[in-house]
Amino acid sequence: MNTSSAVSQGHGHGDGMTVSHFISTYVFSKDHKMIGLQFLFTTLLWFIVGGLLALGIRWQLAYPWSDMPIIGGRLFSAEGGQISPEFYTTLFTMHATVMIFFVIIPILAGAFGNYLIPLMIGADDMAFPTLNMLSYWFMWPAFICIGISFLTPPYGAGGGWTSYPPLSAVRAAAPGSQMAQTWWLMGVTLVGISSMMGSVNYMTTIIQMRAPGLSMFRLPLTIWSMFITAVLQAFALPVLTAGGVMQILDRMLGTGFFVPEGLIVNNADMITGGGQPLLWQHLFWFYSHPAVYIMILPAMGMVSDILSCFARKPIFGYKPMVYSISGIAGLGFIVWGHHMFVSGMNPMLGMTFMVSTMMIALPSAVKVFNWLGTIWGGKIEFTTPMLFSLSFVSMFVIGGLSGIFMAATPVDIFIHDTYYIVAHFHYVLFCGTAMAVMGAIYFWFPKMFGRAMNETAGKWHFFLTFLFMNGTFYLMHILGAVGFPRRLADPYHYETFKHLLPMNRFITWCAIGMVVSQIIFAVNFFYSIFKGQKVGRNPWRCNSIEWFCPSPPVGHGNFDAQPIVYRGPYEYGSPEVDTDHYPQTQPPPDGVKSSEEVH
């Protein structure tokens, strides 16, 4: 608790607005709350960029080679307002890159991890506040690199977010494999460094700085999932960093780690060689598969807390939940080969990865059953965060079940790299994680700003997003069943896929509707920061420790009184007290020892 008190000087709010004070409070702040908010605002801005890129993809798939309305003439004047095929490759590359590396990962770990970890464990800050500040500011070189990549013809990298060599490693292979690709690689590598700094901090903080009485098994599931996520990042990221550096070397110095001998690219013999393209795939997926769980586990944790709070009932199966998070993380390290079933990898190895992949569905299933158990027999309050969390469960079931198709190796032969997989990961990452993030924003907004977001607008936002996103992503399963391949600028010249244009048009209009619905959220968000209804410490009648401190938490240090923890965070409807919630910090009534002994 006292390790960080030394850095809290100069962060109080009383000492006049000088420029240096402004910079130390809002720019180079070491306060975890400010860093969390910086991450939140930055990632939400990137969310807009990623969404617009997705609309570009959708436009081309609905109206191939037709003039893009409004902005087409400016963006693609050389092509008469059309998307060029090389720009199409950069569209989906940059959409995925932005959404994964600049939105989902940093909004979960960076924004919510930073904001919530110290508050939910009753600490006054992270263990290493300066490192924490650096982890945010290391995102900026990454932003700059990607920004330059966007400005380098053909306006972004074009090798897919997976950046498979030789396409990405050999400059002659594609217009998008020129300098844009190098800047892209440097950007992604820098994001990794930022995440590594964060993960060291999260692990140390959660292990070392918990409030008195807060044992590991009294932690909210949000914190458990953040903890396991940090472990995943710490162990998996160095591999991606190494791979990224190797690919940069391949490109800049011709080291040939991933480039085999005897290539003839664009009629030019490649002199370098001796490498193996599959090596990159192994290195890349050794990180990027655990990264899939980095992108879902914190969402699962936050959803668990929100479900329990608004069902007014303890989480069902707390320990099985913790074990399944750990199980997902452990198995998550040995399933990466399922991205490579048809890659030319030893088919025997494919079989091994198939079995481990099947098994990883198990902890996910256990979690779904426990969430259903949580809302069973409760008193459900349909608030906006609850609606988003319920939809997370509903949508995650779809994303989880469609994964079983891909895990079945013979089926994967057919649906690999089709829209089936596109449907699958959007159900997990958008309909799952992004919905959970929305729910979490509505849920913790009162703590962040001391004001609540508007509920009516929130429900409209939920309703429209829910409808449009299912309209967008559900039909992609059907496209995938026909074999409709991903990443094609114009799939309709194939006889097999010709008739799929009308369905794609429908999907595109749903996607446009989905993006437009987010305007409600943006307006609500900014309006509520300044004009939202003021709330007290604990507007949701929630149990965990962050609701024990003022909203927003006081200056740098968070708590106005030392939190002491008496029980776990899910004692809703406890018979020990008259209220329907029983905060972790509330001393038990006389004569009752601890609720731990009751169950």
């Binding site: 074009g158 396409l167 707390y318 320990k319 494919g350 409807g573």
Partner: protein
């Protein structure tokens, strides 16, 4: 409002199942929006496995969706007078819902191993020897170069027959193809034959299949290979044995004639 939201969540399994039913059942709005025609011998196993997993996951999808709706409907705070069931979980339930899915998943895993092995591991044997490839397929930005053995019956010699983008194969015969890439990754995808295999530069690989119907089908590149990836389209021409032989003889003759012309021009 709890009633409204419960019904919204009920829409998920209802519409979700409806979409798949419309797609699977021929005719109607989603006609031809399902697995494309299968012309291969092995494809049925893959399609059956797909349908088996679809039914299995479909049941879980409907049950969880229905429970979700029912719990939201019944335990709506505005309508539910009963006190909260204060429970932290159930040991028995946890064990049941761990072991049951584990058994099902393990079953699927073991069940499919044969099909996988047939497709990727059991190389076709003819007369006690590995069957020689019918053709060499080379992926190249953005076309398929196909090379048949010439009259000397060996691929890789001067008299090879070269074809671009058109792969002729005889029907009902087990076809082995050697596949490779000249520049970047490509993926050799025959939707109607349920074949997909990445072509990795620097690696010599084989794919094999047996067709059961003649006709003209798509060859799709399924791995991003650059700006022209979308147009890397080939044609699979499945012919009767006689038609194939006739085409082959004709094509060899044609190629010999034109190459002689080139030589005499020099």
């Amino acid at each position: 409002m709890g009633r409204f939201w419960s019904l919204l969540f009920l829409l998920v399994p209802v519409l979700g199942v409806a979409v798949f039913v419309f797609a699977v059942v021929p005719g109607g709005v989603f006609d031809n929006h399902w697995l494309p025609e299968d012309i291969s011998q092995h494809g049925k196993v893959i399609d059956d496995l797909f349908m088996f997993i679809l039914y299995l996951t479909g049941v879980i999808f409907i049950v969880t969706g229905a429970l979700m709706f029912w719990f939201c409907w019944k335990y709506d705070a505005e309508k539910n007078p009963e006190p909260v069931k204060f429970t932290h979980g159930s040991h028995t339930l946890e064990i049941v819902w761990s072991i049951l899915p584990a058994a099902i998943l393990l079953f699927i895993a073991i069940f499919q191993m044969d099909a996988w092995a047939e497709n990727k591991m059991v190389y076709p044997i003819k007369d006690g020897k590995k069957k020689p490839p019918l053709a060499l397929v080379t992926g190249r930005q953005f076309e398929w170069r196909i090379q048949y053995a010439g009259p000397d019956e060996t691929i890789g010699t001067e008299d090879d027959l070269h074809v671009v983008n058109d792969l002729h194969v005889p029907v009902n015969d087990e076809v082995v193809l050697r596949v490779q890439s000249q520049d970047v990754l490509h993926s050799f995808f025959l939707p109607n034959v349920r074949i997909k295999h990445d072509l990795v530069p620097g690696m010599q690989q084989h794919v094999w299949f047996q067709t059961k119907k003649t006709g003209l089908y798509d060859i799709v590149c399924a791995e991003l290979c650059g700006w022209g990836h979308y147009k890397m389209r080939g044609r699979l021409i499945v012919e009767s044995e006689e038609d194939f032989e006739a085409w082959y003889a004709n094509a060899v003759q044609e190629q010999t004639r034109t190459s002689h012309n080139v030589e005499s021009d020099n």
